[in-house]
């Protein structure tokens, strides 16, 4: 990598950028702390161990938990990571730091607005609430401040993406013949599908939900706004996951003492995510009436294709780790595992996060199958699943890599690596217990999103063990996770508290065994891949959306009539899809 020019830590290289990234990280850690507390309170409330608030207010807990964790914690952290990735790999600072602070400010103000609206729900004296969960399905309605905050937050994240593009454009004009460095390539492809997909939720919020909560329009269509939400809702999952993938590709091999197995393969993976992330969202709506089975079938096929880049990742990452271990003297079929740097929480945390992600992949395949989905839909199985993906593969990777980033951003040594190791192990064990029990509860029908899952005169019949044991597992697991979060925050605070040292390793990332020169040039053609992504999105969504609007109008039954041309489009499209599905079957 062309990092030779200026060595030292990231703070030495880019002091101004380091400050923005640090601020974004701290914002994300505050959200993590509050969010984790809500998680613990939810566990206690549902199991009737401790109920601080009446059950009617439970959705305020749940909204705060999910919004703070999946939007604030993950996205603030990942904009920091991508900023690090772009500046480090292009070896140049951002174009204009005032602009950068601008998007950070928009995101921060947006979060505060949404947060205030949600927290208002806990107090009778505050005439505000947003107990609409992070999916804000109509007819649940939040205070306008909530939607406005979300809109600002999303616009802020778009401007962040533009910041990375500006860096790349400037770099490209100075280095016209060079390949896009891998980390920048990853940040840019991710930005592209993020912008495409979040258009859906932006339209839903700005055109429908916000005017509706302001009283400007009388009603919205539940199905249309849901569909627009899920247009974004699956891609957002990959928005969280791609930075974790990037860290597995460019950081894990370095920490293992080796090199990334293949740069071209990594590029292929990110291109696949760019084109497939969005035209899959309807797999969250398998049970929604009003969307034809044929469309759902197409989406299921797209979803199964998405397994491919994840399997490619598993292969490349494990191969890179093995390469690293053998460089460190590891031998044997499995013996090399012993040569990995398990003492380092950065490594141990990322490796365990990856392991849990493999388990999440299996439960994800169940979710993705149209028919088996009926068994698990809206049960605690789903909650168990995504606490492995976003709640561990992403969250644990972010926490683990913090132990690497924080010294780079502050020039201070991690306060205690042993506490760090204990922290990542506790998360792993806690999540094993909680997620396993959630999955198994879901199989016998325990619902998600309810304050009181127990029914009188009815007992769940658990396949193995008993319901009481599963509940106990959730309580213990949730508690361990909360303790782990506290340990994490302690290490962060104590590290920042410490004094600067000048013995830290230099900033950088993994080199590759097979570099970009082996990757076909076409992989770097972002315009081409964006065009293909848009075409696939149109193919997957034009007809379902047209058919919803055609039947129900833009504002739902009784809202407004539908334009005639939409009916024609729907009729023709439906005929084509029906015959296509007929052929496949």
């Amino acid at each position: 990598m062309s990092l030779g020019a200026n060595s030292g830590t990231y703070l030495d290289q880019f002091p101004g950028e380091a400050k923005v990234i640090r601020t974004a990280f701290y914002s994300s850690f505050i959200a993590l702390g509050i969010g984790a507390l809500m998680g613990l309170l939810q566990v206690f409330h549902r199991l009737d161990i401790l109920r601080l608030i009446p059950s009617e207010d439970y959705y305020s807990y749940l909204t705060l938990h999910a919004v703070l964790l999946v939007l604030t914690f993950s996205i603030f952290f990942l904009v920091g990571v991508f900023t690090w990735a772009v500046t480090t790999s292009l070896d140049r600072g951002l174009e204009d730091l005032r602009y950068t602070w601008g998007w950070y400010g928009l995101m921060a103000v947006g979060t505060l607005m949404a947060g205030v609206a949600i927290i208002g729900g806990f107090f009778d004296s505050i005439p505000m609430s947003a107990a609409v969960l992070y999916t804000f399905y109509a007819p649940l309605q939040a205070h306008p401040l909530f939607y406005l905050g979300l809109a600002l937050f999303i616009v802020g994240s778009w401007l962040a993406g533009l910041d990375w593009f500006r860096s790349w454009w400037a770099w490209r004009s100075e280095n016209p013949d060079e390949r896009i460095p891998l980390p920048t390539f990853m940040a840019l492809t991710t930005t592209l599908f993020w912008i495409i997909s979040s258009m859906g939720v932006a339209i839903s919020v700005v055109v429908f939900l916000l005017p509706w909560s302001l009283g400007l329009i009388g009603q919205v269509d539940a199905l249309l706004t849901r569909t627009l939400f899920w247009f974004f809702g699956h891609a957002v999952v990959y928005f969280w996951l791609m930075p974790a993938y990037m860290l597995w590709y460019v950081m894990l091999p370095k920490i293992s003492g080796g090199k990334l197995f293949s740069d071209p393969l990594a590029r292929v993976v990110f291109v696949l995510f760019l084109i497939l992330s969005t035209p899959t969202g309807i797999h969250h709506q398998y049970l929604d009436p009003g969307i034809a089975e044929g469309f759902k079938f197409i989406v299921m096929v797209n979803t199964m294709f998405l397994l491919l880049p994840s399997l490619l990742t598993a292969f490349t990452v494990v191969a890179s780790m093995e390469h690293g271990a053998r460089q460190r003297g590891g031998t044997g079929y499995f013996g090399w595992l012993r040569a990995l740097p398990w003492r380092d929480p950065v490594f141990a945390g990322m490796a365990l996060a990856g392991l849990m992600f493999a388990a999440a992949g299996f439960s994800g395949m169940i979710n993705a199958g149209m028919n088996i989905n009926y068994l698990v839909h809206n049960t605690w199985w789903i909650v168990g699943h995504f606490h492995l993906t976003i709640g561990t593969a992403v969250a644990l990777t972010f926490m683990a890599t913090t132990y690497w980033f924080l010294p780079q951003l502050t020039n201070k040594e991690i306060w205690s690596k042993s506490v760090g190791l204990a922290q990542v192990l506790l998360w792993f064990v806690g999540m094993t217990l909680m997620s396993n029990a959630m999955h198994r509860s879901g199989l016998v029908g325990v619902p998600r999103r309810t304050a009181e899952p127990q029914y009188s005169g009815f007992d769940y019949e658990v396949a193995a063990g008993s319901m009481a044991e599963l509940n106990m597992q959730v309580a213990i697991g949730g508690t361990l996770l909360f303790i782990s979060t506290l340990l994490f925050l302690t290490v962060v605070v104590m590290t920042v508290w410490g004094s600067k040292v000048d013995t830290l390793p230099a900033n950088g990332y993994a080199e590759t065994l097979s570099g970009p020169e082996d990757a076909p040039l076409v992989l770097d053609n972002l315009k081409l891949w964006t065009a293909i992504a848009v075409v696939l999105v149109v193919l997957a969504y034009a007809l379902p959306l047209a058919s919803i609007i055609g039947r129900r109008g833009l504002f739902g039954p009784g809202g407004s009539p539908s334009p005639q041309f939409i009916d024609t489009l729907v009729f023709t499209g439906q005929a084509i899809v029906d015959s296509a599905v007929g052929v496949i079957r």
Partner: protein, 69 residues
């Protein structure tokens, strides 16, 4: 030791999901284990792991981990 102390700790953590899932698998094979029995099984597995870790390396392979703990 054949494995670093940190490595051993990680291995014990990884045993947790194995034990938890094993219990479900065994039920489907007709073997029901109570929580206590599962705990005992886990303890036994940790014991075996510890014994393996501290036993001298029979093949005399050099300890592959550079860390001195």
């Amino acid at each position: 030791m054949r494995i670093s102390r940190a490595g051993l700790l990680v291995a014990i953590a990884v045993l947790v999901p194995i034990v938890v899932e094993l219990r479900t698998v065994l039920v489907h094979l007709g073997v029901e284990m109570s929580v206590t029995e599962t705990g005992l099984l886990a303890a036994a597995m940790v014991g075996v792991l510890l014994a393996w870790a501290v036993a001298p390396d029979v093949r005399g392979r050099k300890r592959s981990n550079g860390e001195s703990e």
